[in-house]
Symmetry: C2
Subunit: 463 residues, 2 copies
């Protein structure tokens, strides 16, 4: 249930005028803020000045909203990293004196191993709280909720941003953070948490642990899970698994730490995709091969984000590395923001080309989640065979689907399951993917972001 | 250095009128608030109503400040625990509807193993931020500071309360939390942290790790350490070790989680003990054997705290289990609050009676810290020998004091060291305490609260 039973006691929108204005009105606001930000970053932030000069771009080149996509050069994560190495610790794009910084955090360094440091000004941090609250309200969180957060509270910005919003809403916030799964589940029952905040992977991990503990999650006090931090929240198979196991609804949310307030990308109670609060973080879908080429509504492309209000480390046309598509037909919730019907569908870098076909790990996950008998954990192995890239899948089986399994019937049952999963993959993805079934619990579990693709092409050769 | 170089750019006090009023003016405010709180808890909070009725106490019995100490029954932690077991999760003393709760945390359960749950209302949480900020400002934190927090951000309330204050001050707050010591030290250098927040034990642990990494902490950007979470911040030996190793000043702070805003107990830049912000958390020193018997200024006794403003889980005359003494002579900082010259000196429950002498673990620590050649980690072993309790000490040696130590000279050097430590103990504590020296690194390190007393009297007998 997205909304609590007493939702009628509260206002429907956090900021009705803003969230329901017409597209035309909103475009006007957006263009004004874009021009403000371009002027600001060009004149005050060395990183942008030299980037724009190198690319022959001037702020006054943007007169209409269309100019923004077609004329402004993008920035990429690796440029931020390089700039921070040259200008430690916050890069030459901090934008404010260090005295104005009130929060320091960093990225988890998932892709590169090197953290990026975030410095956030007081004005920005206050605004971040307000905006995150507006978006969380859209997901259905209300002051009567007890919200348990499973994100770690440490270097990584994720949990801190979430909490900044929840503190504004005034729900009873329980920031337990990284902790044993058994403790999360037991405190969830004791404190009667109604909302759980986690990655999709961890929501599934808790299902497993609850089973081991003999807890039936369908009787838990949780009515809603907000999942973010990795793609998958709108992946139908993953979603159904979480919803059925918890008897609770799932809301996908979140973009990327650089874009804090990152929950401008959030699913409302209509579950019609994630809304994009484009008058705070302007979001474009562009051609994967040409970042100055917009793509039409409904067509897949790369996601590019822009901060319309941040003064500290503002991101202007940041290439996030995610792929998705956008629609702007009206949502029944009344909010007039465009949506990503399938959320963030996967990282462009993660796309695998297998015998000419584009295959995303998220699509493989979807098929596995829908195959009855497959357990919760799996791995996708990518390797080079001759000149070609090949993939295969290792998947655990679900012990509940195969009670009292012993040899020799075990082998034939699991072989059948492997065959079914492989066949479903062929139907869905158009390529043959060999599947091997392994014992339940044999693959490692994660508490935050799961690492399920094992790319042997990138490993150094041994022997 | 307590204050940053540019301290003159900022106001001297957070709230000058409040912090510098005369004792007479303050007593008036305190009495008014005490009467308000007594009425509130008696009429609105079942826990207090039944406790007071059982003890034949009525709020109107308190007409003068003196009546408070002599007439109001204390509450103890075990009463809170029992009440929470009967009325889960927050006990019958929550005081506000759950809808008004904005933060849920818990105790670490150090002494009992069972956590106490804290539910804090929005009004209280806002006020906590403001009060913690006032106290942190007294310690010398300013908006130009970069504050690195080593407390875990999880169930335990400690770090959250600290951060609530720092967020108000607007320093650049870096809540890294529980993390590898190497990472703390390396990020401290990269981000140029000027203030480190930790337990005294962890401040000492970082000294060791820095040595292993080849960092000279005396060249670190840290100018001040705020230590709390365990006694020892005003223990002269511990303090000198931290100050010398870091070339930075130490500020003791903090009372106990139940009393949040717990930094009402904080050391100002004059280092003349910890100030008690008694117009927020009223603090009494009473007879250890009679909680309705006040003790005179300068005399040792048990610490009893009272929330003058909390509406959610207010603590009225809470027996904290700590021992200390109070003075009220003027402090050069200009604040007119009384002080605990030696901070919280130890837990009453931790006091050991050895051949008739009262010995506190903190006193033993003090002697060890002052003995040249003794390393950073030690254990106090308490056991029963016949009818008597006996203590002995295991202490590591400092490898820097004994370069290139090999047998047979090692044995005699360490025997000498043990003899010296034991002699110093006899002089200081009046009892003979045998000391054994063990290798550096052989005793376990902690990142939060150290457990240095091994009480074998409490262990179940094996064999």
């Amino acid at each position: 249930m997205s909304l609590p039973k007493n939702a009628a006691n509260y206002k429907r929108y956090w900021d009705e005028e803003r969230e329901t204005m017409t597209q035309k009105q909103r475009d006007k606001v957006i263009l004004e803020r874009i021009r403000h930000q371009l002027n600001y970053v060009y004149h005050k932030i060395p990183f942008y000045r030299s980037h724009y000069d190198r690319n022959g771009f001037k702020p006054e080149d943007v007169k209409h909203l269309e100019d923004f996509t077609t004329k402004v050069p993008i920035i990429e994560k690796k440029m931020l990293l390089a700039d921070q190495r040259e200008n430690p610790p916050f890069g030459s794009y901090l934008g404010v004196p260090i005295e104005d910084v009130v929060r320091i955090n960093g990225s988890a360094g998932t892709t590169t191993g090197i953290p990026t440091y975030y410095g956030i000004s007081r004005r920005d941090w206050d605004r971040i709280g307000e905006i995150e609250a507006m978006c969380q309200w859209a997901a259905g969180i209300r002051p009567c909720d007890v919200v348990q957060i499973t994100y770690p509270f440490s270097l990584w910005l994720g949990g801190w941003g979430v909490l900044a919003g929840l503190d504004r809403i005034g729900s009873a916030n329980f920031p337990l953070g990284l902790s044993e799964s058994e403790r999360h589940l037991s405190l969830m029952h004791q404190l009667k948490s109604t909302v759980l905040w986690s990655t999709p992977s961890y929501a599934i991990r808790l299902v497993e642990v609850a089973k081991e503990m003999g807890f039936d999650l369908r009787n838990s006090p949780v009515r809603m899970l907000i999942v973010a931090g990795e793609p998958g929240g709108r992946n139908p198979g993953t979603r159904k698994l979480i919803e059925d196991s918890w008897d609770a609804c799932v809301h996908d949310s979140g973009s990327t730490s650089e874009m804090c307030p990152f929950q401008t990308n959030i699913e409302c109670e209509e579950h019609a995709g994630t809304h994009l609060y484009t008058d705070e973080v302007y979001t474009e879908i562009v051609d994967v091969r040409n970042s100055n080429e917009p793509v039409l509504m409904g067509k897949r492309g790369a996601v590019v984000y822009t901060h319309l209000y941040r003064e500290s480390q503002p991101m202007i046309r940041m290439w996030a590395g995610d792929e998705s598509y956008m629609v702007d037909d009206p949502c029944r919730c009344g909010r007039t923001y465009p949506r990503l019907p399938d959320g963030l569908m996967g990282r462009i870098d993660d796309m695998l080309v297998i015998r000419g076909a584009n295959v995303y790990p998220s699509a493989i996950e979807d098929v596995l989640r829908k195959t009855k008998g497959i357990g919760v954990e799996f791995r996708i192995i990518v390797e080079k065979k001759g000149a070609l890239d090949e993939i295969s899948v290792l998947a655990e089986y679900d012990p509940v689907a195969f009670p009292g399994l012993t040899e020799p019937s075990k082998k034939s049952a699991l072989d059948n399951l492997a065959g079914e999963a492989s066949k479903a993959m062929k139907v869905s993805l158009g390529v043959r993917v060999p599947v091997s079934i392994v014992d339940t619990g044999s693959l490692e579990r994660s508490t935050l972001k799961a690492k399920r693709v094992i790319d042997k092409r990138r490993l150094p050769k041994t022997n």
